[in-house]
Symmetry: C2
Subunit: 354 residues, 2 copies
């Protein structure tokens, strides 16, 4: 075996997730849905949200910090809204349940909203917004997260970078999936730079005093923070996402959201999900035509020198996904060993790595 990298197909990795969850006591249906949504990040090349995090989920399930078989409770249902107490279950599963409810509620009228509290990390927001788009609705999904960014002028992490996603259905094409977080770079980029002994560009992060730093360790582990995009704009957006997903849902919010690697606490994440039922606002065919016309303006724009192609939001991720479906993904040997240890301790089948 190659000591530096191993390759695994997405199919086998999804089966591996499924087997691990099942061995940990997660019921079959929940394990299968969780594996399917967990692999979304791996498939899109979002390394920091995928397989790298499996050991954290395993620990959290083993320590009872995530419920294997959560008791989902629907509260305050109206014709077009509902609140889900996710029972501290795997966010990959609970969030899909909330998405299905939002789609069902949006069918009767033009728009619906579902909030979730007592949830866990759900991976990539785009995975869930896309499910809504696959029902010919416009999907919006947001989450709060463990604190990473300081207010402008601050020197203390107060908010997560609180990602959100919009997904819009197209006719005969994959939906447009726009998925962003409110920091300039992810915390994962800082961790990678630190492990490789590299400095980071000025502008990405602040140190523990709120001053710019190029030291990824100070920024990430030493009490520093990530810089929000466009300063007040990114911080304000993160605040709005926490108000929708944290304050309004009944979940933890702000400094009280806990991270995956903190084994003292549940994370207490919250979410907001909105589904817009296109056909209640415009005949579907007309919407699809108009959307294609706008997208055509974008990709057909006059190009700057050096630009070969203009991409729509999410298109690069789709390209990576198509490639990864062919080639599988690479895992470094240290992580591979960790996965093997997990598999053997749980007596889970060891899938074929090459």
């Amino acid at each position: 075996m190659n000591q530096s990298k191993v390759t695994i197909s997405l199919y086998e990795l999804e089966n591996f997730y499924n087997a691990i969850f099942t061995k940990l006591g997660v019921p079959e249906e929940i394990a299968a849905i969780s594996a399917k949504n967990f692999i979304y990040a791996d498939s899109k090349g979002a390394d920091t949200h995928g397989v790298l995090r499996l050991p954290l989920y395993v620990q959290r399930l083993q320590k009872g910090l995530v419920e294997k078989n959560p008791n989902l409770k629907w509260e305050l249902e109206t014709d077009n809204s509902a609140v889900l107490d996710a029972g501290n279950g795997l966010g990959f599963y609970t969030t899909q349940m909330a998405v299905e409810k939002a789609v069902e509620k949006a069918k009767g009228n033009g728009i619906s909203m579902v909030t979730i509290y007592n949830n866990n990390h759900f991976g990539a927001a785009g995975c869930y917004a896309k499910m809504i788009a696959e029902e010919n609705m416009i999907g919006f999904v947001t989450t709060n997260g463990a604190p990473l960014i300081a207010p402008v002028g601050g020197a203390e992490r107060i908010l997560g970078n609180n990602p959100f996603s919009f997904a819009v259905p197209r006719k005969n094409h994959e939906p447009v999936v726009f998925d962003m977080a409110n920091s300039i770079v992810s915390a994962g980029k800082l961790m990678v730079a630190h492990h490789q002994g590299e400095s980071i560009p000025e502008g990405w992060a602040l140190d523990e005093n709120g001053e710019p730093t190029t030291d990824p360790y100070r920024a990430y582990n030493g009490g520093g923070s990530l810089v929000p995009i466009a300063e007040h704009k990114g911080f304000g957006l993160s605040l709005m996402m926490d108000i929708l997903s944290g304050v309004l849902s009944g979940a933890n919010f702000g400094k009280n959201v806990s991270g995956l690697a903190n084994y003292e606490k549940i994370t207490g994440n919250g979410n907001a999900i909105i589904a817009i039922n296109i056909e209640k606002l415009m005949p579907e065919e007309r919407f699809f035509e108009r959307l294609e016309s706008l997208l055509h303006m974008v990709v057909g724009a006059k190009k700057a020198p050096g630009t070969e192609r203009i991409y729509l939001p999410g298109e690069r991720g789709q390209q990576v996904q198509e490639k990864n479906r062919q080639t599988g993904i690479s895992i470094n040997s240290k992580l591979h060993e960790e996965l093997q240890e997990i598999a053997s301790s749980l007596e889970a089948p060891l899938y074929k790595f090459s």
Copy 2:
């Protein structure tokens, strides 16, 4: 009279707007609502959206490019959604009508959505989101606009900077009003730099070839474009705002939205408005307590050196508003002369400037 600046109170300026609209044939109710919402931008110090634009609106009304007494048509109403054909009326008025509909529709359930087509510029998005917050709902309002930004890698303006606003009610305080556009700076800043013969910092704008420029004229008048915040993120957000406000509503979208200064065409703006009825998702008192707790974390964060105070979104604008209510606003003498000419040509009363 001071030749360089004159000062006018907000009260008198609002009355002046009202009189001008009325003299142009706008019915009283529409003129009054329009004046009230037009002055919002002046009151908040958003100079480029306020009185500077009055001559443009006057021209457009006189040329029949904006309907004085629009025929508003409600279409496709459901229990929680509706589409407004704004009849090409003044956006300050039509948008308030749509906001009132959204609030009414949200009362029965958790959330509502209203789209608008055949609309005109409405001034500041925050003005309308705030109206929703004043009904103890969370408001979201967006608009498309004339093209200003190019896709990343592009050299042609395709989308407006498509502002949007979230407003959140507080107990015993003004709502939190977060209002942003998706370009790093407004087009107004480029115009001001050009008039003052100054160059602009690299990073704000591109020239007609999609290359960075420090020449505001090339960027604004010479076929260049504004740079979106955080590159793909800002462009993607602008695209989503145009899908919601333009494509989905039936309005113009993308390159087809026209600017206020183009006297050949109607603007054809579109909008999307969402109202979230807090009390259907959480007891109101509990929401207010939780919100204050989050806002307290933000403003109470440890400060970086040199920071005296951490501001919430919209708080600086509120401070400016309080000051402007006391002192009035300054208008340069050239604009003042233009306003006087408009007043005398319409036989409108000349309000007291000092």
